[in-house]
C-alpha cells in the first residue's frame, strides 16, 4: 500500500512509501521516528489531525512536523 510521507524533521523531504496494510499512525510514527516522542510533533493525515489508532489508507498523505526547532543567529 502506497502513501505520501512528508517528514518536516531535518531535511524536510516528501516521498511515496510502501507500507503494510492496517498500519496505524502510532505504528508508523514508531517506525519512522524511532526514539522520538509523538508529543513533540504535529501529525496530520490528509491535512487533518487524527487519533493514534487511525489506520493508514492507500494514498494517504501523512505529515510529521516538529514543534520544537532550534533557531540560531546568522
Amino acid at each position: 500500500m502506497r502513501i505520501l510521507y512528508i517528514n518536516n524533521d531535518g531535511a524536510g523531504f516528501a516521498d511515496y512509501l510502501d507500507i503494510a496494510e492496517n498500519t496505524t499512525v502510532e505504528q508508523f510514527f514508531k517506525i519512522k521516528m524511532s526514539g522520538a516522542q509523538p508529543s513533540d510533533y504535529l501529525i496530520r493525515v490528509n491535512r487533518q489531525p487524527v487519533p493514534k489508532d487511525y489506520v493508514l489508507q492507500a494514498n494517504d498523505r501523512i505529515t510529521i512536523t516538529p514543534t520544537k526547532v532550534e533557531g540560531a543567529r546568522f
Binding site: N8, G10, G12, L42, R47, T67, V69, E70, G71, A72
Partner: protein, 338 residues
Amino acid sequence: MEPHKIHIKLAHCILTSLIELKTARLKEVQSKLKDMAYRSSQAIRESRRYQIALEKGWFCAARSVINKVGRDMHDFSCYLSRFIELLNREDVPVPTLSDIVSELHQIEQEFAQFNFDLAQKTISVITRPIVLDGVGFGPFEIKLLLDEYNQFYRDRPYQVIALDPKPAASDENVTHPHVSHDRLCEGQGCTAIGSALEQGRLCDFFMLVIGILETYNPDSPYVALGDWEGYTCYDCGRTIGSDDGYYCECCDNEFCGQCSTYCQTCDTTICLGCAYECPCCGQPVCHHCTAKCKDCQETFCKDCLTNGLCQTCEEMRKDEEYDEKPEPNPAIQPDSVG
C-alpha cells in the same frame, strides 16, 4: 470578495511564483553550463601555450603556465563539485492549483488567527504570545510575501514581525532570541523550511516557523535570554544584568563594571567619564571631591590639598618663605657670644 475566490486568486499567485522559481532553477543550470564551457576553453588555450613554450625551450614560460593551470584547476574542482551538486538537486514538482487551495484551507483550520491579503499579496499567520523560559515576547505575525516568493533562492520571502515588541535591552531590532530586523534565523529548520516553501507546502512552513519561535536555542541566540531584560552600558553598549549595573550619580546613567569606578574620597559610584584623575595621587575622584589649588589653579582631589595648596605649590611657598626670612645681623650677637 467571496473567500473561495480569494483562495483561488492567492493560489494562482503562488503557483505563478513557483513556476517562475522552477524556471529560475533551470536557467541557473544553463548559466553554469556556459561557464563550464568557457573554463574548458581556457584550459585548451593554456595547453597550446604550454606546448609552444616547450617547443621553444622557454622553461620559465612553461613553469609560469603550469603555475597558472594549477591555480585554475583548483578553482575548477571547487566549481565542478558545486555544479554537480546543482545537477543532482532533485527536481521539485510544482503543486497543482487545487493542492495550494487545500493548503490555504488547512491554514484556516490550523491557526486561530490568519490573514489573506489579496491587495498586498501576503498570507499571514499570527502566533500565540511567545514565552521562553519565563520571558515574554508577545505574539508574532509571520508574513509570507507572495511578490518575493520567486526570489526564494536569494532571500527568504517572509518576515517575522513582533506585534507587541519587547526587544532586547541591548538591541531594539532583536525582538526574539532568533529574530533580528524581522528576519528569522532558521537554524536547524533551514532545510525543512526551504523544502516546504519550494514545494508550496505553506501550512508546514508556518508550523515550522512557529516551532522555531517557540523554542530557545541557548547556543546561538542574537541576545541570550539571561541578558534580555538587562541594561545597556551607557559607555560601551554591553548588556548588563539588572542587578549588575552601576549607577553614576554624576551623569545619571547605568554602566557596566568595566566602565565604572568609585570616588576614592567619598566612595560614591561614578563612571569613568565623570571620574577625575587627581594629577597628584592618580586616584579617581568625583567632582564634589575636587578643588582648585589657590596658587596654580589646577584641580586636585581634596586629600591632596593642604590649606588649599597642592603639594608643589605648598613646597614652593615654603621655599619662598625661607628665602624671604631676614638673615641674622652679625653686629648683634646673642648673649655670651664674642
